[in-house]
Amino acid sequence: MSLAKSANKPLPAAEGKAARAEARRAGGRRYLASLRYSLYVITHPFDGFWDLIHEKRGTLAAAHTFLILFLLTRVLKLMLTSFQFITAPVQYINVFQQMGSLLLPFLILCVANWAMTTLFDGKGRFRDIYMAMCYALVPYILIQLPMILVSNMLTYEEGSFYQVLLSFSVIWCAFLVFVGLMQVHDYGPGKTVIFLIVTVVGASIIIFLLLTFFSLLSDAASYFISMYREIFFRLN
């Protein structure tokens, strides 16, 4: 916004620079505040998610950050966790494949949830759903990232401690997803449960359509390629 304004009105260079710097600082402050706000969200989910969306306490930038951190945590966990606790064939792991296999379902589920809830008076926009989901990943990052380090200080027999904390982080995340969707759409708990199930169904339909689309596309492409070849050979 500030950039657009300064482009329209020829302001003195020094003033424009100062205004831009000021805007940048304000944006930075807001970003940092929204990052810090995640701690409030995960400890007070009902209040937190409501304010996150309706009081605009969250930012998309922070949501992106959490998603990226989540993917990084996942990969680092596979790579660096002590081999006593994880059976990852490190020699076969493709980092981007690992990230993709998490990112794609995440986005598909967000889209499916948005598509379904829009039809049944869900209040959330796609942006809100995405933001809530990303904020719900925070306990995973906060617990699992340090646990990578901790796993290297534990022995096999002490593994139950490690396992309990990991399970705890996942349960926490699941709870946050539930509450987050509830607050975003202004649903009751029962309706949220139903729409979680509906979301999964919707996601499978999306995957089915995507697969069909790509297979048809490749069929069509191969048809044109073979036609081109046929003509090419005939002409020769």
């Binding site: 081999f83 006593q84 064939p89 200080m153 022995t155 096999y156 027999e157 002490e158």
Partner: protein, 505 residues
């Protein structure tokens, strides 16, 4: 000049022969040895065994002796330096004496003295106790016949008249073992209650080691509530399966193999293709590897011999090392007492070291003898340096000579750097010398989590003891610094408030 030429030509001839000899020295190229790595992938390894010789009707001179070749031989038994071969189709048992790598027929046993039915009919298995008494699973005559070393008939073990034995069934003994006390355990066709057990005097004393029936919840509900009576009659009923083969070890534990199972159950240890039965018939086989001993873990989709290993026979060497024979792919699998795969080798085919119809297996010391019922030959395998070093290493470890064992495992690693057991062996020895960090490295390479955990625990303890002062200092710093900062801030606040108060006044 002529002599010179002769020498040259002789040398040329030798040179031509040498590559052939060298190839033979390298072991058989027709077969290969492998182990499975942590990721269930077969990793080639040096040969643990190589073919010493192959015995068949020709090499034994049976054509001249009896005029009849071995036909559909079903079983092989070794006692000291004698091999007893059940020549099933010819209703005879051939006793072969081994001297070095020379094998010669000592006796051909066709009948015994003093019995009502003195000849055999399709003898499926033979057992010889340390005193030299022979036990024959006389399949066609429905008995187990016992005779002494001079072939005088002693007694018959016949169909039990007990009510627990289904009297409508024929008594068809296929395999048998005898324990130190002279008790006979017979594996009978169509009997699924376990092994038929006789006391030494011939009285039937019950069944032992019945296979348990395993059925999943879903399967049960499906069969019980969703199938019609006709469907239920057509599908197999829930009956325990028969064993395939049995072997009795030095400590009178019976090893039994089982080839009827669903493929899915194998890796989850529900199929239990190899069992070690105690006197109560309970399976007490030790399984300390990632997967239970089941033969091959993976097989190529669409290959000729597709499917799980069907372990058709088993034999137990010293130190509870056991070897199982797979008839699906004609392979041998060696496991140590902990159930860890030592080596696997063998293949299907007609060349030396390959089998077409492997059916029976026994050992002589560390040598392995495999009977092929289609080739009607016995292949004798001898350990290579590699195989022997593995045996020596595990033996010295069991005897408590850990350093020596580690040295031998190092030799194994020189021959095969892909051998997890060697890393584990060295790791354990190194750990005993309190070199924990080094031990951790070895255990990591062996993917041995429990032992790594143990070594790491000791290493961690040592590390903490060494760095205790740094840890205390760090903790103190972490605790004291925020406290002081808080204090300073508070003081500052008070000063500021005081100043403000002054201004306001």
């Amino acid at each position: 000049m002529k002599a010179f030429r002769r020498v040259i030509s002789l040398l040329c001839l030798l040179a031509l022969l040498l590559p052939g000899l060298a190839a033979a020295e390298d072991g058989f190229s027709t077969s290969y040895t492998y182990t499975y790595d942590y990721w269930e992938e077969p990793q080639e390894s040096p040969d643990a065994y190589r073919v010493a010789t192959v015995i068949d009707s020709m090499t034994l001179g049976l054509e001249n002796l009896e005029g009849i070749r071995i036909s559909k031989a079903q079983s092989l038994f070794v006692r000291d330096d004698r091999i007893y071969l059940c020549d099933t189709s010819n209703n005879r048992i051939i006793e072969i004496l081994r001297e070095g790598n020379r094998f010669s027929v000592r006796r051909v046993i066709r009948e015994m003295k003093g019995a009502e039915i003195s000849t055999f009919s399709q003898p499926y298995d033979v057992f010889v106790d340390p005193e030299g008494n022979l036990y024959v699973a006389d399949f066609g005559n429905q008995r187990v016949a016992k005779m002494d070393r001079d072939l005088n008939w002693v007694q018959d073990f016949v169909k039990p008249t007990d009510a627990t034995f289904d009297q409508s069934l024929n008594f068809l003994p296929k395999k048998l073992v005898v324990d130190v006390a002279g008790r006979v355990y017979a594996l009978c066709q169509n009997v699924n209650k376990g092994l038929v057990k006789y006391e030494a005097d011939g009285t039937f004393s019950g069944f032992i080691g019945a296979n348990t029936v395993s059925i999943s919840m879903g399967e049960y509900i499906w069969k019980r509530y969703f199938q019609t009576k006709e469907q239920r009659a057509q599908t197999a009923s829930f009956v325990p399966t028969e064993y395939e083969n049995i072997y009795i070890d030095e400590d009178d534990f019976i090893y039994a193999t089982n080839t009827v199972f669903s493929e899915y159950d194998l890796k989850y240890d529900n199929a239990k293709p190899i069992r070690r039965l105690n006197s109560l018939g309970t399976d007490i086989l030790i399984k300390n590897d990632r997967f239970p001993p089941i033969g091959d873990l993976t097989w190529l989709e669409g290959s000729d011999n597709y499917g799980p290993s069907k372990l058709t026979d088993i034999t137990v060497l010293q130190n509870d090392i056991y070897v199982a024979l797979d008839r699906t792919r004609g392979r041998l699998f060696g496991y140590d007492s902990q159930g860890i795969l030592l080596w696997a080798f063998g293949t299907k085919g007609n060349v030396e070291g390959a089998f077409t119809g492997a059916v029976s297996l026994d050992h002589m010391g560390y040598d392995l003898l495999v009977l092929d019922q289609l080739e009607n030959s016995i292949t004798v395998f001898q350990t290579t340096e590699y195989g022997q070093t593995i045996y020596d290493a595990s033996e010295t470890y069991l005897e408590g000579r850990y350093d020596e064992s580690a040295e031998q495992w190092r030799n194994v690693l020189k021959m095969n750097a892909n051998y997890p057991l060697a890393f584990r062996g060295i790791g354990r020895a190194v750990m005993r010398q309190n070199r924990y960090e080094e031990a951790m490295d070895y255990f990591r390479l062996a993917h041995d989590r429990e032992n790594y955990g143990r070594a790491f625990k000791l290493f961690r303890k040592e590390w903490v003891e060494r760095n205790i002062w740094w840890i205390v200092l760090l903790l103190a710093a972490v605790l004291i610094v925020p406290l002081t900062i808080g204090r300073v801030k508070k003081l500052k606040g008070e000063v500021v408030a005081h100043e403000l108060g002054k201004v306001r006044k």
